[in-house]
C-alpha cells in the first residue's frame, strides 16, 4: 500500500498552495476558494491518519465530517458578505475594502 507520509505530503502541498492563494490573490472570492483548498488538505490529513492509525475507531471520519459542516457554514456567510460588499462598491478586490485600515 501507499505509505502514510505520501498522503501527508499531498495534503501539505495542497495546504501550501491554498496558503499562497489566500495571501496573494486580490479577488475575495478567489481567497475563499483558496481557503477551501486548505480545508480539504486538513480533511485529507484527518482521513489518512484515521485510516493508518485507528481504522477501528471512527473519530477521524467524524472529525472530517464536522470540518465539512464548518466549511459549508463559512462559505455561505463569506459569500453573503462578499455579495453585500459588491453591492456597495461594485468591486470585490480585497485590497479596496480598506475603510477600517489605519
Amino acid at each position: 500500500m501507499v505509505p502514510l507520509w505520501m498522503y501527508l505530503v499531498v495534503a501539505a502541498a495542497l495546504f501550501s498552495t491554498g496558503l499562497f492563494g489566500v495571501l496573494s490573490r486580490r479577488n475575495a472570492i478567489a481567497i475563499l476558494m483558496s481557503i477551501e483548498l486548505m480545508l480539504n488538505a486538513v480533511n485529507i490529513n484527518l482521513v489518512a491518519f484515521w485510516r493508518y492509525n485507528t481504522p477501528l475507531d471512527l473519530s477521524g471520519q467524524a472529525f472530517a465530517a464536522f470540518v465539512f459542516v464548518v466549511a459549508a457554514a463559512e462559505v455561505s456567510v463569506g459569500l453573503a458578505l462578499i455579495i453585500g460588499i459588491y453591492r456597495k462598491r461594485q468591486s470585490v478586490i480585497a485590497e479596496d475594502v480598506n475603510m477600517l485600515k489605519w
Binding site: 505509505p3 476558494m33 477551501e36 480533511n43 481504522p55 467524524a62 465539512f68 466549511a71 453573503a80
Partner: protein
C-alpha cells in the same frame, strides 16, 4: 513503494488534486478558477475512496462539489468585475510564494522520512506505516452510531447543525435587500 494499482491510482488522484489546486490559485479567469476548484475537490474525493472512506467521498462530492463549489460559482457570476483584466496577484506575491514554499518544505521535512534518509536523527515523526489494519466492513454503520451516541459525538453533531442553521439564516439576512422606502409605516 511498489507499483501496484493502488499506487497508480494514488498518483493519478494526487496529480488531479494538486494540479487543480495550482490552477485555482493561478487562473486569470475567476470562473475557470471555480471550475478548477471542482476538479481539485474531485481529486480529494478520489483520495478519500483510496483511504477506505467511501461515505466521506460521497459527502465530498455532494456537499463540496455539488453545493459549496456551485455556490462559489454563483457568487462569481453575481459579482462580475467592471474593470477589465485587473492583476490577479497583489504586490507581495513573491514573498507569499516564498512563505508557502518554506512551509511546504518544513512540513515535508517533518512528515516524510527524508530527514531520516539524510542521516538526521530525531527529526520529525515516523509515518512510514505501509500496511495498516483492515477497515471493518460496517464502518459506515459505526460512524452513524457514533454520531448519535450520547457518549460520543451527539453533542458536536447537534451543535454543528445549529451552527449551520445559524450561518444559513445569517447569510440570507445579509443578502436580503432590506426594507424599501415605500414599506415604511406599513408593518414592522
Amino acid at each position: 513503494m511498489e507499483l501496484t494499482a493502488e499506487s497508480i491510482v494514488f498518483l493519478i488522484m494526487s496529480a488531479i488534486t494538486l494540479g487543480g489546486g495550482l490552477l485555482v490559485v493561478s487562473a486569470r479567469n475567476l470562473f475557470h478558477a471555480g471550475l478548477y476548484l471542482m476538479v481539485a475537490l474531485l481529486g480529494v474525493a478520489g483520495l478519500f475512496v483510496l483511504l477506505a472512506a467511501p461515505f466521506l467521498a460521497g459527502v465530498q462530492v455532494v456537499v463540496y462539489i455539488g453545493a459549496i463549489a456551485i455556490l462559489i460559482i454563483l457568487a462569481i457570476m453575481l459579482t462580475p468585475s467592471v474593470t477589465q483584466l485587473p492583476a490577479i496577484f497583489n504586490r507581495q506575491w513573491v514573498l507569499n510564494l516564498a512563505l508557502a514554499a518554506f512551509l511546504f518544505v518544513l512540513l515535508v521535512s517533518v512528515v516524510s522520512p527524508i530527514m531520516g534518509d539524510l542521516g538526521v536523527d530525531d527529526w520529525g515523526a515516523d509515518f512510514t506505516e505501509e500496511n495498516p489494519a483492515d477497515v471493518p466492513a460496517d464502518s459506515i454503520v459505526k460512524l452513524g452510531e457514533d454520531l448519535v451516541d450520547p457518549d460520543k459525538y451527539m453533542l458536536p453533531f447537534e451543535v454543528a447543525s445549529v451552527l449551520l442553521m445559524a450561518a444559513l439564516i445569517g447569510a440570507v439576512l445579509l443578502v436580503s435587500p432590506g426594507k424599501t422606502k415605500t414599506d415604511e409605516g406599513d408593518e414592522d
